[in-house]
Symmetry: C2
Subunit: 143 residues, 2 copies
């Protein structure tokens, strides 16, 4: 199944690619950094190189399998999420790291309207809301 997805993307089925895709599909944490993916795979006794993880993630990104985010909170480290659901934006707790995904039609519409007003053709956008959730104590490991 992960296999078919790779083929569909024009990527040869290789062990590292399969492992990374499967990890992303099975992980509780929807947003992982390259480093996290790398370490998790090592713990599972799958030996991949960190460079490969980066290469594969970049390929996944251009194939549309994955989305790369640069959250301000995580000091420059990119995180990746499977691009399986419909478009959504993010709400991030700066205290506990919790990430909530949401969709808002009104905001999307306004973005289009604004773009039109300035003669822009939007290809991409990102909206990150940073704040504190009310109960950070019970979501310390909920990233």
């Amino acid at each position: 199944m992960s296999n078919t997805e790779l083929k569909k993307a024009g990527l040869k089925t290789t062990l590292p690619r399969l492992r990374i895709l499967q990890l992303l599909e099975s992980s509780k944490t929807r947003h992982m950094s390259a480093e996290e993916i790398y370490k998790t795979l090592l713990e599972l006794d799958e030996d991949v190189g960190l460079a490969t993880v980066y290469r594969v993630l970049t390929q996944f990104e251009t194939a549309g399998i994955v989305i790369r985010h640069h959250f301000q909170s995580s000091s420059g480290t990119a995180v990746f999420e499977l691009n399986e659901r419909s478009h959504h934006d993010h709400l991030l707790c700066t205290d506990c790291g919790k990430v909530i995904e949401f969709e808002d039609k009104i905001i999307e519409e306004r973005q289009q309207a604004i773009a039109k007003q300035y003669g822009f053709d939007i290809t991409d956008h990102c909206l990150y809301l940073y704040g504190r959730c009310q109960h950070p104590e019970n979501c310390e490991h909920n990233k």
Copy 2:
């Protein structure tokens, strides 16, 4: 004048700080990277160290004098803008680098509503719209 602003922020008036603040105030380009600021000052025969530029910008940021942005387009390089106007978001042309600032009450309201719905207290947010403007040819150096 820039002087008072530094004092107000609790920062000792030093040459590098004054130069950087004045440059940001006088520059046509509202969004500049540390490197750009550094080079511009060198051209003006003000000798500052790049490290100082970074340090000062960080101090300015925590003092609220400046806002730091990480536009996806500029491959990891942060850009800084004076925090003088009211809050605004950004529309960025990926072809010519043009940056348009806009304000939208409806989007702001929706953000608050969404935050409330999830029990979040928003401290900060960023909304970047990436796209292509209709006439990129005449704004090549309009960053």
